[in-house]
Structures are given as C-alpha cells and as structure tokens.
C-alpha cells in the first residue's frame, strides 16, 4: 500500500496568543470596566486593545464599525454639557454611550477570542487548567455554533423576505411580536436538529472518553502573551493610582 508523507503543521508566524491569555485578559478587562468610572483616557486605551486585536485578526469590518461607534460615543460624551436634550432622549443617549464605552470592549474582545481560537486549541488550553470536561464540551459547542447560527439566520432572513414578513409592512403592524416569533422558531428548530446530528456524529468519533484525550493543538506562551501581561499590569497600576 502507498505511503504518504506525514502532515506538517504550518509554522505559526506573526501574532499569536495562547487561549489561556485570552481568557484571563478578558476576565481582567471585564473587571476593570466594572470598577473604573469616569476615566476617558483609560476607556480609550482599553478600546484600542480589542480594536488592534480585531485588525490583526483581519476582522476589518467589525473593527471599523466598532471604532466608528466608539468615536461617536466619545464625541457625545465630550459634548454632553453643550446642549439640552429632552429627558427621554437624554436617558437613551447616556445609556447608549455608556454601553459603547464600557461594554463594547468586552463584547469585541469576546468576538475576537471566538474568531481567533480553534476548538482544538481551546480544549487543549482548558485541559491544562484541569477544567472538568462537562464544562469544556458545552463551551466548545458554542464555538462551533456561532458560524452555524449565522448561516441559518441568513437563510431564514431570505425566506422571510420572500414571504414579505418584515418590519413596516401592514401585516407587521397587526402583530409586531410575530416577527420575532417567526425568526426565532425556525432558528431554534434548525439548531436543535443540527445539535442532535452533531452529537451523534461526535459520539461515533469517540468523544466522551475525554480522560485519555490527546491534542495536536500547539499551545504555549510566547512574547506576545508577555506583552498582554505587561499591558494588563500597567492598566492595573494606572487604575489604582
């Protein structure tokens, strides 16, 4: 029988973070945003980090949208005292601005982590921390499902447009909540079905004996992880001062 050459994983070039660094850094930023108030300079620095990471990971569109929103929020914040808005509008505006400045860095970081980490790397990293498998498997399923949700949702949007089930039509005003129902129900149906088939496929490939599981994922700390660690230390010192 023919023999073929063994697989050679491509050399990792350029920027790469260990999944453990990503998770820890995410926890750190979340805590930081929770405790630090009214420090626009720090907010700006914190916003630049996910922005840079998104750009490095070539998620240019997301980075541009996020960057734009952040700039708008900063402008709104700086000009707050210059005009008087009706109270309801003012409330909405303050809420939105706070969300973009304080919550979006966390969301964006999460998005970056999901896009840049392969399932295998994540499992390997979590196993190094001795996280129980009953916890790891559901999280990896979430990783796997995010792109699927996107695909399914796009198909459902098409189906809805062909039936003229959309915002603003006469039918819509008769029963506005139905729109949500029409979107969510087929999505749930297909997710349940895919999840069911996926579990069956995973079981026939030996998932479940995780105790002896090995991994080909090359994880490990590099100089880039050190940069993130130093950055975090710097932010920590700054927030305490």
């Amino acid at each position: 029988m023919e023999r073929y050459e063994a697989y050679q994983p491509p050399d990792k070039k350029g920027f790469y973070l260990d999944p453990r660094t990503k998770v820890l850094f995410m926890a750190f930023v979340t805590t930081l945003m929770f405790f630090v108030y009214e420090n626009l300079a720090m907010d700006a620095v914190v916003a630049v980090i996910p922005l840079t990471l998104l750009l490095i990971n070539r998620q240019v569109r997301t980075a541009l949208i996020y960057g734009g929103l952040f700039a708008l929020a900063i402008v709104a914040k700086l000009t707050q005292g210059m005009y008087v808005l009706p109270s309801v509008l003012n409330m909405i505006s303050v809420l939105l601005v706070a969300m973009v400045i304080r919550l979006f860095p966390i969301f964006m970081l999460g998005y970056y982590i999901i896009e840049s980490t392969s399932t295998d790397e994540f499992v390997a990293a979590m196993e190094k921390w001795h996280i129980p498998e009953s916890f790891i498997i559901p999280i990896t399923v979430v990783f796997r499902f995010i792109p699927t949700l996107g695909e399914e949702s796009a198909a459902i949007t098409d189906a809805m447009r062909m039936r003229e089930i959309q915002f603003g039509t006469k039918k819509f005003w008769q029963n506005p909540t139905a729109l949500l129902e029409y979107r969510v129900i087929p999505l749930m149906m297909s997710v349940v079905k895919i999840g069911d088939e996926l579990s069956a496929a995973a079981l026939t490939r030996g998932l479940g004996g995780l105790k002896h599981r090995t991994s080909i994922a090359a994880i490990g700390f590099t100089a880039y992880d050190l940069i993130i660690a130093l950055l975090s230390a710097g932010l920590l010192v700054w927030s305490i001062l």
Binding site: S118, E197, L198, R205
Partner: protein, 490 residues
C-alpha cells in the same frame, strides 16, 4: 465480522425512521454491502445498530444481539466501538465539530488518545489517499458540501476502523462529487475494510458493492449478490420503490404543456466583491415551462436562483414578461424559492396559518375558503390543524408550495427538491411540479436528479462559471448533453 442475531428494535420516541424486526444477518470482513429500500424502511436503523447509536443515543427497545468482531454492541461503550466502526452521515453541515479542516480530521484520533506524531502521520496518510491535501488548514465553513463530505470521510478514515458505515452519504452531493465519493469507497474496499452503505442513489455503487440488502417495513425482503440485483429492470426496481441503476436514459420524455409567451432574463449581473459571480446578458424561457437548472456545484446555480428571486439586493438585470419588466425589488414579490432545507421557511403554528400568512387578510372568510382549496389540491387538507414541523419532509415541502400559491407567486424556484428521496416520493414531487406548471407558473428547478428531469423538465439552462453554457428544450443535441453530464458519475 458483523452478526445480527434475531434483532428486533423499536424506537421509544416518535422517530420517523422505522424499527427493525427479527433480523438475522452476517456480514463477513471485507464485504461492501448496500442497504436499500423506501424511506422509513429501517435501513438507517441498521446503520445505527452497527455504530452503536441505537440504543445508546437513539433510545428504544432492543431484543437479540448485535455482535461486532465478537463483541456485543450493547455491552461496549460508544467510545470503544468508535475504534472499530467509523460513521459518515447524510448532512455534511452537521457532522463536523471543529471549524478548521485539520482539526476535524484529527478530532477522532485525539478522542481515542493517539500521540501527536501518530496523528500527523495519519492526517498525511488519509489526505494523500483521498487526494484532499489542498483542503488542509482551511475553514470548514468555506468549503462546498462535497468537500465537507470528503473531510468527514477522511476524519473517519484517520481513526483506521475495520468497518465503515455510511448513511445516505450522497444525498447532498452533485454528480462530480458522487464520483469522488465512489473512489473513496473503492479505496476502503481495496484496503479490505467492511463498508455498509444505506442509500437511495444506487447507480454509483453498482460496480463496487458485493451484496445488496433490500428492506421493507423493517424486514429483510431480499438479500442478493450484486450480480443478481443488477438483473432487475427499471420496472421491478420502481415497484420496489427504488431508483434506477442507470442515471437515466431520457427515452420517454412526457410532453408537458408549456405556456404561450416568453419570459426573458436581461443583463443579469452579480459579483461578490470584485469577483464576478454571474453574467447572463440574455436568456429566454417559455412561460409556464419547468426549467431544469443544471451544472456542477459551485457553477453559480444557487447565485442565479437567488438573483432571480430578488434576494441578492445588489444584483442587476430584469426579468421581462410580455407586458412588464421586473427589477430586483419587484421580483421578490413575484418569485418564491422552495429551499432545500424547507424548515427555514415554515413560520406558523398550523398548516392553515402558514397558507393564510401569505394572503391579503382583508376578507377572512374568503381567505379561509381559498386556503382550504389550496390545501386540498396539495392533499394537505387533513393536516390543516397540525403544526408544520410535525409533518414529513415531503409534506413540509408541499406546505411551502402552498404558501407560494397563496401569495400568487408566478415564478417558483426549487432548490434540490428531491435530494434523498426514494422513487415514490420523487414521483410525488414531479406531479406537484407538473400541476404548478399547468396553473401557468414558470418553474426553475435546481437539481442533480436525472430521474426527476426525465419526469417533468421541459426546458434547460446549463450554468458554468456564472454564465449560461447552453439552454433549450428536449432537442436531440441537448438530450445528448444531459446524458453526458450525468454519465460522469459512472
């Protein structure tokens, strides 16, 4: 060796798949066995009994024993069984666990605890054998259905099991990829593996299978060497509910009444970013025709369909009938696509609501009457109060057709309406299509099913690289082109 000793299995839940009764079956090592029969005959259940998914995952009551290489499957955990039995499933979308191809091929090996060097060796070996080296280190979501299916085969093959079980692996594949799948099975056969394939499409397996088992209502009706099975003629096969052994001969083409006018497509242009995906300057089809859209996967059939339905907002071009010219925005009101996964387009809680949803809603009584008429014409009236999701695949498809009729759509597009259907269900779909054509609707059918084409299509568009390579009716020349196209799989 696989041994079924007086096996009876019934599902606990309301599975569509039927149980199996009193099976006695021995499959020696190295045999390639084809399991066939109508939908719900129990062939999927047999594959699940072999890979251990029943009764462990799909629960039910099992009597008798299934022995794999001398081990009772009921006493062997799935994790252990997975080293001996590898499984490939029907839907390429829902059988990968990773997002990248290499990780996916390694997945099974990692689960059974192989060392990194050994996994690298195996990845190299299987990707060489299956000729998919260039698919390594890619994003699985960016691959075509056929490529995904090859990755699934590689992933199973890398675990080096003795037995391969495939459950309708060709359902979502085109002619060219079916030929590739055939090569994979041939490879396994040459390596001395046992291969069990449950299938509706039979023709690609005729020169690799050793034995054919025909099931009916959960019982083995026929168990033949493939040489005997090949003697059966089309009439006998169709009576058994099976598809033909040959792609199709297109000898008896039923004439379908086509309408009078012409529908003309003008200047269809669409691109993804800078890549031109479609460019059709001019194309006309008879109004009321059933137009088969042919071409390989990735040729642009789906893009064409989406542009036709007005789903691609940035697409340019018009669809002209004798009295009007429809741009993208108008087309979405006049066209409807019955999707391959019809679950995406059923929104309401009952079949009749589904039909009513597309109606004007001004005169409720009138709408209800009309809705009943539509349901009656599609043999769905008795299900009108049921939840659409509780229906079978074919019934769901008819509900989707009904909703298109209700909203007065004139142009209907069908994306693979017969993938994974047995002979009788395929005929049912062909009947529905003909009926729609008689109502004056113009139909566009994306299909890889030569038998469906022979039953109802009367006009063709062949798409290649986003352009129409040729179009026309059943002329002798086109007949030859279509025959050639489908003979590729043999």
């Amino acid at each position: 060796m696989i041994e079924f000793q007086n096996v009876t299995f019934t599902y606990q839940s309301t599975e569509r798949e039927s149980g199996v009764y009193h099976l006695n079956l021995t499959i020696p090592d190295g045999q390639v066995v084809l399991l066939c029969g109508e939908s719900g005959c129990g062939k999927t259940t047999i594959t699940r009994l072999i890979n251990g998914l029943t009764p462990e995952y799909y629960e039910g009551k099992l009597d008798g024993t299934v022995m794999i290489n001398g081990n009772d499957t009921q006493k062997t955990p799935l994790y252990e069984l997975s080293k001996t039995v590898g499984s490939v499933f029907q839907n390429p979308r829902s059988q990968f666990f990773n997002v990248d191809t290499t990780g996916e091929i390694a997945f099974g090996c990692e689960n059974i605890g192989l060392l990194k060097e050994e996994i690298y060796r195996r990845i190299g070996q299987v990707t060489g054998e299956l000729k998919i080296r260039k698919l390594l280190d890619r994003n699985l979501f960016a691959l075509s259905g056929g490529e995904k299916q090859k990755i699934a085969c590689a992933s199973v093959s890398a675990m080096e099991p003795d037995i391969f079980v495939l459950d309708e692996p060709s359902s979502n594949l085109d002619v060219a990829t079916i030929a590739d799948l055939k090569q994979v099975v041939e490879k396994w056969k040459a390596m001395g593996k046992t291969v069990i394939i449950a299938e509706h499409r039979l023709y690609y397996l005729m020169d690799i299978a050793d034995r054919v088992i025909y099931l009916k209502n959960g019982r083995i009706e026929k168990d033949l060497p493939v040489s005997d099975f090949r003697q059966l003629d089309s009439t006998q096969l169709h009576a058994m509910g099976l598809r033909s052994l040959h792609p199709a001969d297109f000898k008896n083409i039923p004439m379908v009444s086509a309408g009078k006018g012409l529908v003309e497509i003008r200047d269809f242009l669409f691109s993804y970013g800078k890549v031109e995906a479609m460019n059709i300057p001019r194309l006309s089809v008879p109004q009321g025709a059933i137009v088969g859209i042919l071409g390989d996967n990735g040729a642009g059939k789906t893009t064409f369909a989406k542009c036709l339905c007005g789903l691609e907002k940035k697409a340019k071009g018009t669809l002209n009938t004798s009295h009007e010219s429809l741009g993208t925005k108008q087309r979405i009101k006049r066209c409807y696509m019955v999707m391959q996964d019809v679950n995406h387009q059923l929104f309401t809680e009952s079949v009749s609501d589904e039909i009513l949803l597309g109606m004007p809603g001004e005169d409720v009584q009138e709408d209800k009457k009309k809705s009943d008429e539509i349901l009656d014409s599609l043999n769905l009236l008795e299900y009108k109060e049921l939840h659409p999701m509780s229906l079978s695949g074919g019934q769901k498809q008819r509900v989707a057709i009904g909703s298109a009729i209700a909203s007065d759509k004139e142009f209907l597009v069908f994306d693979e309406p017969t993938s994974g259907l047995d002979y009788h269900h395929m005929l049912e779909v062909a009947d529905n299509l003909r009926r729609l054509s008689e109502m004056g609707k113009t139909l566009f059918i994306i299909t890889h099913d030569p038998e469906l084409i022979a039953k109802c299509c009367n006009y063709f568009i062949f798409i290649e690289h986003g352009k129409t390579a040729w179009s026309g009716g059943w002329t002798n020349e086109n007949k030859k082109r279509i025959t050639d196209f489908f003979s590729f799989a043999i």
